[in-house]
Symmetry: C2
Subunit: 457 residues, 2 copies
């Protein structure tokens, strides 16, 4: 009986000790992030000194060099580049577009969707027809679509609390709209920007022509939400109005680029790898401070914080800044291919690619025991107002990663403002709040710490 009691006491004491130790570590992590991290200064450089980092651009190249250099200042065990061939798409001249209503020409803000072909040099003028879904094309049929521009105008649903849900439900218009409309003989498509706010920014993003033969590709562009509202209104008044747009974008040959990688070797299980990541490429309309400069500097800050706290991880911690998430996902695929080739064992991978806003928690891809484990840590996160632990999509770049057993996590920041900036010209450093960015880094470091300490089940 005595022995048993002693055992129980020992267990409780060590449990309490673990709890106290973890509470203190999280406090240290958050304090370090909020008082002594370089994340915000790094983002300032990436955004304001380098600018946009579309795959294959000079900015992307500079971003690779800069982040590698910065990682080299942190005293990591290894910093290196991983080669990856990426697509190179260029926007060319600024696009122009008009609603042509009898003799009136009304200018509206558009931008070519990434991957789109150009219009002929003189632009395209055609009747325009409004639809609200890809399915509606079938109902209308070739008779009503052929020779016209298709205008996709299904807005993001305002009533969902998670704005990514609304994004997901509208994304097909941008991703597949041109591909589908071309099948019915459309000459171009104009897509309502994936933005919940009414404003004048057109939002770009990747489009795909799927299996369509090249000669059937039609140009496609996004129109600002205000522009979409106006166009829809004008079409109600005059269903026969025409639309003009001109863009000169091009898909060039693939070019060599890099994933940027840094790591701290594990002291107990150096062969078990835990990844923290963001993607270094951005769209070309702005510097991509939220998408995904934030995720990059937060991931770098996770290792910076651990070094500054002199934390010796049990497992190997690796920061990965992926190239080409936006228009190809080549970085993520290459990383996985290299990992397989090197027979690496990844037990954990996390990505921050939902903006630099106040963190609310994590989405997780894992089995039940690990999900239960994460939820058991909820009280540790409570002082930092981290409360959201749900299953769901974690990150596009870590998606390809497979291992015998792996837990994946996606940082979930507050999503209300994200689509105000996403893929648009206003996704700039000014839209970032330093503290929110730092809290995200601390939240990521905290989950990484806990999995490093307690392993995956």
């Amino acid at each position: 009986m005595r022995k048993l009691l002693f055992g129980a006491t020992f267990f409780l004491t060590s449990f309490a000790f673990g709890q106290v130790k973890d509470e203190q570590m999280l406090k240290d992590i958050y304090t370090m992030a909020l008082t002594n991290s370089k994340s915000y200064a790094w983002l300032d450089d990436l955004s304001n000194k380098i600018g946009h980092r579309l795959s294959g651009s000079v900015g992307a190249e500079k971003g690779v060099i800069y982040t590698k250099q910065q990682l080299e200042t942190l005293g990591l065990d290894r910093v290196y580049l991983q080669e990856v061939m990426v697509p190179k798409w260029v926007r060319g001249e600024k696009e122009t577009a008009y609603i042509i209503d009898k003799k009136n020409k009304i200018s509206v803000p558009i931008c070519a969707l990434g991957g789109s072909v150009a219009t002929p040099k003189e632009g395209i003028t055609a009747e325009i027809i409004e639809v609200h879904s890809l399915k509606e094309l079938e109902t209308l049929g070739e008779a009503k679509i052929k020779g016209k521009i298709v205008f996709y105008n299904r807005p993001m649903e305002p009533e969902n609390i998670d704005t990514f849900l609304s994004y997901g439900r509208c994304g097909d218009q941008r991703r597949s709209g041109a591909h589908e409309a071309a099948k019915f003989g459309a000459v171009g498509t104009i897509v309502r920007s994936l933005n919940l706010r009414l404003d004048d920014f057109p939002h770009t993003g990747a489009t795909s022509y799927g299996d369509l033969p090249k000669e059937k590709y039609i140009p496609t562009a996004a129109i600002s939400t205000n522009g979409a509202e106006l166009l829809s209104q004008k079409l109600k008044e005059n269903p026969k109005l025409t639309f003009y747009f001109k863009q000169s974008c091009q898909q060039l040959e693939d070019v060599l680029s890099y994933n940027v990688i840094g790591e701290i070797k594990g002291t107990v299980h150096p062969d078990k790898i835990m990844v923290v990541s963001g993607h270094l490429d951005s769209w070309d309309l702005a510097d991509g401070s939220h998408d995904d400069g934030a995720g990059c500097v937060q991931s770098m800050a996770v290792l910076e914080i651990f070094k500054k706290l002199n934390y010796q991880p049990k497992n190997t911690l690796r920061v990965v800044l992926y190239m080409n998430e936006e228009n190809g996902g080549r970085g993520g695929k290459q990383y996985e291919a290299e990992s397989k080739r090197n027979k690496e064992n990844h037990i954990f991978a996390m990505e921050s690619d939902a903006g630099g806003f106040t963190p609310r928690g994590f989405s997780l891809e894992c089995d039940e025991p690990n999900f239960t484990k994460v939820r058991s840590w909820a009280s540790l996160f409570e002082p930092y107002l981290i409360h959201l632990f749900v299953k769901g999509h974690t990150g596009s770049d870590i998606h390809p990663l497979t291992s015998t057993k792996i837990v994946k996590a996606g940082l979930r920041p507050d999503s209300q403002r994200y689509f105000d900036y996403h893929h648009a010209a206003n996704d700039t450093f000014e839209a970032i709040n330093k503290r929110e960015l730092e809290l995200g880094a601390a939240t990521m470091a905290s989950l990484l710490y806990l999995f490093d300490q307690y392993g995956i089940d």
Copy 2:
């Protein structure tokens, strides 16, 4: 046994029915707020058509008329004004300030603190001494302070997650700094802006001379955080440098103003009153969209939402837009005095005065049974990412309100960005996100609904 089972089943069914009914009502409230509320348009008018609403100003008067008119469109049972005499302080000409370092004059951004006296017409030039607390004045003593300008430079602590905690710990410098320094013969005070961010905006706010005789009042101003950093740096290089500032603000006679009130009569307990509120006055450097235009339009939207949902409250629901929270709190005191005079029974009062950012939950002033009750509703709020239910300060305007038994609640939005804008020239409509504003209104309406349904304990 049969009877008992029937009873239990009935209880469980009605419990489940209540749960389902409440879930549906919250869903309806949030959907209405996000799709069909006027809150954002109201704030646009208040901010962009009317502008700042400092007590006694033309803007405040216009704000009273505008919000009364808008409430009258909602089909409430009663809309009225409540007279209140308010202080009238005017800033006068734009302030100027220089660091004078030998022959160099370096301009720095300052603004007079609300309630401050003017400098002499030619301004004040004096040696400046940096301190970090009111206590430090005692250590230094009159010998080192007399004839000088005291520069309060204790920054807000970055490591607290709740920025209001950091604000609370620095506020004495602004509120009592001049009062205390005057006792030691200082000729003026310059206070580091209560802002966690380094930028060029000076942040105003109320100062008080306490029981100091009028002839001892000294002028006091806030300096931007960048200005404070620069001044501190320059003082390290040259402890003998001087500082110049000039301001022409004045305290005028009190003037008549109003609280704006609208109500829906209760169908079961018309004598039990539940208040939802914000304050209509703002500081004068900007239109006060976050402080507290947001709280006003959210409170108005709560009643708007109930009317649109055709909700018949059990208790009387009252929206109150208080005047003069910023520099006197007269509206709140007047409301309480009138309530006492009319022998009104308030069972619940809520205020939104912490910005229009994404709501996270509520702070509560109530006894344990009611606190437990609120926490029992947590799962109803979970789909809306509302997770914070804590005890603490609720609102300055509802603070004076007493009743036999009353529950008070303060909306707690995300606090990370609040002090970037608080009392500064950038607290404008552009800093507001429509969805975040609407989510706040829905969150307030939801708590009001639940207390209306289930009463207070």
